[in-house]
Amino acid sequence: MTNNDRKLLSKKDLFNSYKYWMRYALSAQNMERMEAPGFAGMMARVADKLYPGDIEKQKDLVKRHTTFYNTQPMVGVVVNGIVLGMEEKKALGEDVPDELIQTTKTALMGPLAGIGDSLFIGTLIPILLSIGLGLVGEEGSIIGPIFYMVSWCSIMLVFSWVTFKYGYRLGTDAIKLISESGVKDKVIRFAAIVGLVVTGCITATYVKFGISWQFVSGDLTKSVQSVLDGIFPGLLPLLLTLACYWAMDKKKVSLGKLFIIIFLFALIGKVTGIIG
């Protein structure tokens, strides 16, 4: 516990990490792991600060963050702060398990995306835009767009930077608290369960497909999907996700192979019109 107040990251490093995430969170947005490259990239940029010269540790650090990640980036920046705080403590030799870091990200990304989309994108932006539209009026005044740009950017830049710094402090403090009070196993266990439930929630939100085939007999047309929904809503996406887990975990199917299988599945399903 002698390392508690030591720091590896300067204020400048923190700001650079914040700026990196704000810029690059979405620039490598992809269907498979969404914002993972942005998160891993942010860690890669500070890897040498956290583990100077130790390439194996740096690899482990970055690898931890190449997993699926998706949230509302402007609101979700608090997670980057928390995780950066945790990683710094880990680099300083505190006992921070990988699972704790992973489950923190998993548990927070979904709810923060929900908060970000409803509160900021769905509420704040329409309010500011309405004021801006009012200022444009009949004459097409440029005050309208300028008002929106200035108010939105100043509110969100301050908000995102403050929450990022708050998250960073929270991350370091939480680790201190956890390791000092000896409740680590319980915290990890708790986080793992919350993470599992939230993984289920976001699977239900993101994996979306069904059977578009319709059963026709005389005048009777019955959608197969509606029958399935009556039994278990979202059964197919659920089974497919579990099948992917089974294939990767138990059958050791490589990611690349799984990827091709799913593409063929989509292609055949679409061309035959069974899946949609």
């Binding site: 947005q29 490259p37 690898k63 699926f68 950017c153 793992a192 699977t203 993101y206």
Partner: protein, 265 residues
């Protein structure tokens, strides 16, 4: 429209799109100058008619004022609607309503571009994994930078072509893509996150039976229709109950899952 003006509109179209890495990313881009209200001003300045630009931007904005674009599910893409619709309406001397009517089909083009970019970017995920394995940490930090080139091309080219060569060019562009291929990509994109969640499961799942926690989360959202924040509260309750009553003598064995196992592919 002059070549120079078309290039400028193409560049600002890209800078206003989601996923572009300039300024403060989404904050100043997509949700900043990417709102039609602001884009109208920029287009007006480029085309030398600020008043018309602002008024058209404001009209298109009213259509999309409450638009939320969560994750992959993009209902409409404002970017193409704004940066193709408004300039074309302005140079043809059409009314704001004309820009508005073009905005709807053009936003569908934007949605198709989003899926195309997200598919191409999977290539960079592969590269990222490769560079992590090789210990090329510096390159991992550059992945989002390289990947952003796909968005630059996907935005600049259609906007520039449409503005410079007119509306006919953009309809030809939309028609050129076979629908079955586009639809396959959309379906592919709807299924593919399953792989990401399967990877998360491998990390969080300790004992096979704990899959019930995952199922609980799935059912709460899909069958019971609960918002994710409400589901989180219930998840916390289960976590608390588990820690308090079930887990007193179960130690963490998850650490046995080695990192090599987690990432081999």
């Amino acid at each position: 429209m002059s070549l120079f003006q078309a290039i400028l509109i193409g560049i600002f179209g890209y800078l206003s799109s989601n996923y572009n890495p300039w300024g403060f990313g989404q904050l100043t881009g997509w949700y900043g100058i990417g709102r039609p209200l602001v884009s109208g001003l920029i287009i007006g300045i480029i085309l030398g008619d600020i008043k018309t630009g602002v008024l058209m931007g404001a009209t298109v904005q009213t259509l999309y004022i409450g638009l939320v674009t969560p994750g992959l599910s993009m209902p409409a893409d404002l970017n193409t609607a704004t940066y193709i619709g408004i300039p074309l309406a302005m140079i043809s001397g059409a009314t704001e309503e004309f820009a508005l009517s073009m905005a709807v089909p053009l936003s569908a083009l934007g949605v198709a571009l989003v899926y195309a970019v997200q598919t191409v970017n999977v290539f960079w995920v592969r590269k990222m994994d490769e560079w992590v394995e090789k210990g090329n940490i510096k390159q991992v930090g550059n992945v989002p930078l390289y990947a952003s080139s796909s968005q630059a091309i996907a935005r600049f080219v259609p906007i520039f072509v449409a503005c410079y060569f007119g509306q006919g060019a953009i309809t030809a562009l939309v028609d050129a893509m076979p629908t079955w291929l586009g639809n396959t990509f959309i379906l592919f994109g709807a299924i593919l996150p399953a792989v990401g969640f399967a990877m998360l499961l491998r990390m969080c799942l300790n004992k096979n039976l704990e899959i019930f926690y995952f199922l609980l989360g799935f059912v709460m959202v899909k069958a019971m229709g609960l918002p994710i924040t409400v589901a989180l509260v219930i998840a916390c309750l289960f976590g608390y109950l588990d820690v308090k009553y079930l887990n007193e003598n179960v130690m963490i064995s998850r650490a046995t899952l080695s990192k090599e196992e987690m990432f081999d592919d």
